[in-house]
C-alpha cells in the first residue's frame, strides 16, 4: 500500500492505495463519487474523463499513485451551489445528450477545450471531442452545445 494525497474538487483527500488502483476506481469505489463513468475501460470512450491539474484525461488509464500530489476535478465539482455550470446548461438546453451515460465525460472534456480555445470553430470542436464517444446523439447536438457554451451560435440554429 502507498499513501497518496490528492485535492479532489477542492477537498484534500488522503488514502492508502495499492499501486495498481486506477484513478477512476478510487473515485467511484473508494470515494463513492459515481458521476465519473466507466464505459469501455480501454482508453477509448472518454466517459471517465476528469481534469487532472487542469487537463482532461481518461481516469481509467491513470493510476492513483501517478496522481499523488495533484489536483482532480470531477463532474461532481462542476456545478456551484446547486447551479449548473454554463457548459452543463448548454448540454441541457441544446439536448446534447439522450441516455446521458457519456455526458459527464463530455462536460469535463468541454471545460478543458474551452479553457484552452474559448471560441473553437465547428471543425475544432469535432476534432477536439474525438476522445469522447456518444452512441445516442450522432454528435450534432453535442457540437451545438459546445458552440453555445462558448457564446457562439450553434450549428443549424
Amino acid at each position: 500500500m502507498q499513501s497518496v494525497t490528492l485535492t479532489i474538487n477542492g477537498q484534500k483527500v488522503t488514502a492508502d492505495v495499492e499501486p495498481r488502483m486506477l484513478l477512476v476506481k478510487f473515485l467511484r469505489e473508494h470515494l463513492r463519487m459515481t458521476g465519473t463513468h466507466v464505459g469501455c475501460d480501454t482508453t477509448q470512450c472518454g466517459a471517465c474523463t476528469i481534469l487532472f491539474n487542469g487537463d482532461a484525461v481518461k481516469s481509467c488509464t491513470m493510476l492513483v499513485v501517478q496522481a499523488d500530489g495533484g489536483t482532480v476535478t470531477t463532474i461532481e465539482g462542476v456545478a456551484q451551489d446547486s447551479k449548473m455550470h454554463p457548459v452543463q446548461e448548454a448540454f441541457h438546453i441544446h439536448h446534447g445528450l439522450q441516455c446521458g451515460f457519456c455526458t459527464p465525460g463530455m462536460v469535463m472534456r468541454t471545460l478543458d477545450l474551452l479553457a484552452k480555445n474559448p471560441k473553437p470553430s465547428e471543425e475544432d470542436i469535432r476534432h477536439q471531442m474525438e476522445g469522447n464517444l456518444c452512441r445516442c446523439t450522432g454528435y450534432h447536438n453535442i457540437v451545438a452545445a459546445v458552440q453555445a457554451a462558448s457564446g457562439q451560435t450553434p450549428v443549424g440554429h
Binding site: 495498481r20 486506477l22 475501460d41 472518454g46 488509464t61 501517478q66
Partner: protein, 265 residues
C-alpha cells in the same frame, strides 16, 4: 492488473538505478500504452518506475540547427508549442493528430519512441528527420534505433532522455488514419534539407517504420508531388489486416508522400 510495486523517480539516474535493481521493472512515461497493456494482463511488470516527476525530461529547446524535445514532453505540449510551430511545424501537426486530446494530455514522445508501435506516428518523424535518440548513457541515430516490431536499440534498463531533430528546410507528415484508433493505417513523413530528402513510412511495414529509397531518390531529383505520384511501391513485406491489405497500403505510400510534399513547409 497484476500487482506491481511503484516508485516515482526523482531523477533520471534514480530511475535507471531502480530499473537495474528490480528485474522485470519498467519505466512508466504517460502510460497510454503500458497501462492498457497491464490492464489486459498482457504485461506483468514487477515494478513501475514513474518518470512523470522528472522535470529535466520535459521541455522543448530550439537552436539554429536543431530542435531538442525532452522525452517526457507530452503530445499536447508539442502540438501547442508556438516556438516549435515556427521552427518545425510538421512535428506540431503530427503530435496534434495522435490518439485524442485526453491521450495527448498524458502520452509522451519518449514513451511512443521507446514503445515503437508499428503504427505510431513519432517513429516516422525520428526516421524521416534523421533524429538522434539521446538516452541516459549514449546517443543513437534513428537509422540504427528502430529494429522491428516494438523492438529498439534500447537496453533493458536504458531510458530515453530526449530526442534531437535536425531542423530541415521543410517537412510534413500526412497520415491515413484508422478512424477508430487514429493510429496510422499508413503515415508518411517527408523532409528536405538541401539535396537530402528523407521519406519515412509508418503503419505499413510488417517490421515497423522504414524509409523508401526510391521515393527519396525521385524527390532528391525533383522535389514535387508529381515526382512520386506515379511510382509504384511493391506490397511485399507490408502488413495486411482487417483495415487494409498490403497492396492497399503500398498504394497509399506514394499517394501520401505526394500529399506530404505538397504540404511541406
Amino acid at each position: 492488473m497484476y500487482e506491481f510495486d511503484y516508485h516515482r523517480a526523482a531523477s533520471l539516474a534514480d530511475a535507471v538505478s531502480q530499473l537495474k535493481q528490480v528485474g522485470d521493472s519498467k519505466p512508466l512515461a504517460g502510460g497510454m500504452t503500458l497501462l492498457p497493456t497491464c490492464k489486459m494482463r498482457l504485461a506483468r511488470p514487477a515494478k513501475l518506475v514513474d518518470l512523470g516527476a522528472i522535470a529535466a525530461l520535459k521541455g522543448i529547446v530550439i537552436s539554429d540547427t536543431h530542435v531538442t524535445i525532452g522525452a517526457m514532453t507530452r503530445h499536447a505540449d508539442v502540438a501547442a508549442s508556438r516556438e516549435l510551430a515556427a521552427a518545425l511545424p510538421a512535428l506540431c501537426v503530427l503530435a496534434g493528430g495522435i490518439g485524442d486530446p485526453q491521450v495527448r494530455n498524458r502520452g509522451t514522445m519518449g514513451g511512443s519512441v521507446a514503445n515503437n508501435d508499428p503504427a505510431a506516428d513519432y517513429p516516422s518523424a525520428c526516421l524521416g528527420l534523421g533524429a538522434t535518440i539521446v538516452t541516459d548513457r549514449r546517443e543513437i541515430a534513428a537509422d540504427d534505433y528502430f529494429q522491428g516490431l516494438f523492438q529498439t536499440a534500447l537496453e533493458e534498463d536504458e531510458i530515453i532522455a530526449a530526442i534531437r531533430f535536425p531542423r530541415p528546410d521543410c517537412a510534413a507528415y500526412v497520415k491515413f488514419k484508422n478512424p477508430a484508433s487514429r493510429y496510422a493505417t499508413v503515415g508518411v513523413f517527408v523532409s528536405r534539407k538541401g539535396s537530402d530528402v528523407r521519406v519515412a513510412v509508418t503503419g505499413a511495414g510488417s517490421d515497423g517504420v522504414f524509409r523508401v529509397a526510391e521515393l527519396e531518390a525521385a524527390l532528391a531529383k525533383t522535389f514535387a508531388p508529381d515526382a512520386v505520384a506515379s511510382i509504384k511501391v511493391p506490397g511485399d513485406g507490408l502488413s495486411s489486416d482487417m483495415h487494409g491489405s498490403a497492396e492497399y497500403r503500398a498504394h497509399l505510400i506514394p499517394v501520401l508522400a505526394a500529399r506530404a510534399v505538397e504540404a511541406c513547409k
